[in-house]
């Protein structure tokens, strides 16, 4: 099910502007990898190259290789739509479809895949909502609009929507930054559950969160203003937080930045 992602020599551009440079790393299956680093160092840009969302921005392009169990995601015969079906994404701000009910939000991806049978949809909707720890809160109002939920519930709804299509990898770009501490903990618990089935990559600005949820941590930094972001180091979270190899990492984690 879950797959290893290998990235080598990846550059991402916005027009002529290089946003991230020469990134190589391996993301193991069934692990949570946290991306940390100062604002603007290209974490979002990089994570969006992993499911080919980056190229949707006009003028944006990617160089280098991203392999999912040996298959190059940027190969000439690869359909980016298929890549996005395999690698799901949760965004910084909860973005349930406002025109759809809770049920339809979760079922949206399945309907795109052509699943029509009500009983199949019902089963997946329930499973996904349970998987996202939301079932008990919404089971009595599945027909109500998703935008009527609280921010934390909306984010879990988005997670349910993402896992409903059974992706192999789940990318999360600051999924808790718009949430209160309780909702944040709920999502973190959920991540711990999800990692048994999915490979998870999470961008976070919260050091405690990175330490709590991730197995491995990658620290990104800018060489200087106007320079592209680079991967400084990646390693087991415990090691990155206790004895990083690069001083900049230690400084950043300790809050002695800039």
């Amino acid at each position: 099910m879950t797959k290893r992602i290998e990235i080598s020599g990846l550059n991402a551009y916005y027009g002529a502007n290089k946003a991230v440079e020469d990134i190589s790393m391996t993301i193991e299956p069934r692990t949570v990898t946290a991306f940390i680093g100062p604002s603007g160092c290209g974490k979002s840009t990089f994570i969006r190259t992993l499911n080919r969302m980056h190229e949707l921005i006009p003028g944006a392009r990617v160089e280098g290789r991203v392999q999912l169990d040996g298959q190059d995601l940027y190969g000439p015969e690869v359909d980016p739509v298929a890549v996005r079906r395999t690698i799901g994404m949760v965004f910084q701000r909860p973005n349930p479809f406002p025109t759809m009910s809770i049920y339809d939000n979760v079922a949206a991806g399945l309907k795109l895949n052509g699943v029509k049978k009500k009983s199949d949809l019902d089963a997946v909707v329930e499973r996904s909502l349970r998987g996202a720890n939301l079932w008990n809160e919404v089971k009595d109002r599945l027909g109500k609009p998703g935008s009527g939920l609280s921010g934390g519930q909306q984010q879990r709804l988005c997670i349910a929507r993402a896992i409903a299509v059974e992706p192999q990898v789940l990318l999360m770009d600051e999924p808790c930054s718009a949430l209160d501490p309780i909702s944040t903990l709920a999502i973190e618990d959920l991540i711990a559950l999800l990692k048994e089935r999915y490979t998870i990559v999470i961008v976070t600005h919260n050091m405690q969160q990175a330490a709590r949820v991730s197995d491995r941590t990658a620290f990104f930094n800018l060489a200087g203003p106007g320079q592209p972001g680079r991967l400084v180091e990646i390693g087991d979270t415990e090691k990155i937080f206790s004895a990083p190899e690069v001083e900049a990492t230690a400084d950043y984690i300790a809050g002695r930045f800039g």
Binding site: P98, M100, P145
Partner: protein, 350 residues
């Protein structure tokens, strides 16, 4: 903001409402009882002038509207009182002589049919154009196309009328025959008249479609641009193709806007006068077979008849104008109902 808090200065708060908040913040750590009571809001001169003038303008507008309405209704009722026929079901328009008989049935029919044809053609095309401009075309092309659409909206209707009469309608004769040959088994597509002209409600509908298309396209384009990028990305991240993304995120979000835009267009199609008056060879009868020459609309009939009408004729035309007004009101009301039915899901609270 304020420097020292003394009992005296706290007393000032009553008069100086603009600074009140800064003070109460500072006194806030004392007991609640010490907080100054909310002072009665002092109305400033500017506010008073603005309030007075806007209220005055509002009242003036209402008075003018009421006066117009009263005038029209009186004139119309006057004429209706002298009508020998049935105003709602007749399709004749005789407003002089001993036995005036006039009715709007044929006119309403022509108005509704031509507007319906116009909407059936214009709405899908306009939505398509708007989608193309916002989601498919490269930036350059989109911009050019946008200008063309805006330009088209500025063409006066006389020009459309002339063009329709001189250029378009002769070219459409073939299409009329073709439609009646293949779809003639549907009653309204039947064609009695082998006819050499295409001065028909169908031609009118096509011209009206071209006239309202830019309005609908321009408004829907704005609506589609409002669709939050986050929703589009949500669909794409689920593995939607571009068209699937449009279907899951863009069209549902834009639906109320599409309906409103269509209503704007429909209002114009229902009320369009000159172009229709020029194209149709006017006749009063109720023409359901829109591929046959003839038919007329309320607005075109008013334009055609007004010049040579006597007083009774003018009253009758005003009455028909009121019918058009209620028709438009009805359609807009229906659209409101449709929009409101799904308000919960409109995305307005997202």
């Amino acid at each position: 903001m304020s420097t020292s808090i003394t009992p005296e200065s706290r007393g000032d708060a009553k008069r100086d409402s603009g600074r009140r908040r800064g003070r109460s913040d500072k006194t806030g750590h004392g007991t609640d009882a010490k907080l100054p009571k909310p002072a009665k809001t002092q109305v400033r001169l500017g506010d008073r002038v603005f309030l007075g003038s806007s209220r005055g303008a509002g009242i003036l507008l209402l008075v003018i509207m009421a006066a117009i309405a009263v005038f029209l209704v009186v004139e119309a009722l006057d004429a209706l009182g002298k009508n020998d026929g049935n105003f709602l079901t007749d399709s004749t328009w005789v407003t002089d002589g001993a036995k005036p008989a006039f009715g709007v049935a044929g006119l309403v029919g022509g108005t509704v049919i031509s507007a319906a044809i116009a909407m059936l053609i214009a709405v899908p095309v306009a939505v398509g154009v708007a989608l193309f401009i916002t989601h498919y075309a490269p930036r350059r092309v989109a911009q050019t196309l946008g200008y063309i659409v805006d330009l088209l909206a500025a063409v006066p209707s006389v020009v459309f009328g002339l063009w329709g009469l001189v250029f378009l309608s002769p070219k459409l004769i073939g299409l009329h025959t073709w439609l009646s040959d293949y779809l003639g088994w549907i009653p309204i597509f039947d064609k009695d008249d082998a006819g050499a002209t295409a001065r028909t409600l169908f031609t009118c509908g096509i011209i009206l479609a071209i006239m309202v298309l830019p309005i609908i396209a321009a408004v829907t384009r704005e609506v589609f641009l409002q669709v939050p990028r986050a929703h589009e990305e949500a669909a794409l991240a689920l593995g939607a193709t571009r068209w699937e993304m449009i279907r899951t995120a863009v069209l549902p979000f834009g639906k109320p806007g599409i309906i409103s835009a269509s209503m704007l267009g429909l209002g114009r199609a229902l009320g369009e006068t000159i172009a229709v008056a020029m194209v149709l060879s006017s006749s009063q009868e109720l023409v359901f077979k829109f591929l046959d020459p003839g038919g007329n609309t309320i607005a075109a009939n008013i334009a055609n008849q007004f010049g040579e009408s006597n007083e009774l004729g003018r009253g009758a035309l005003i009455a028909s104008g009121l019918v058009l007004f209620f028709l438009t009101l009805l359609v807009n009301g229906a659209a409101r109902v449709v929009i409101n039915r799904h308000k919960e899901f409109s995305g307005a609270n997202a």
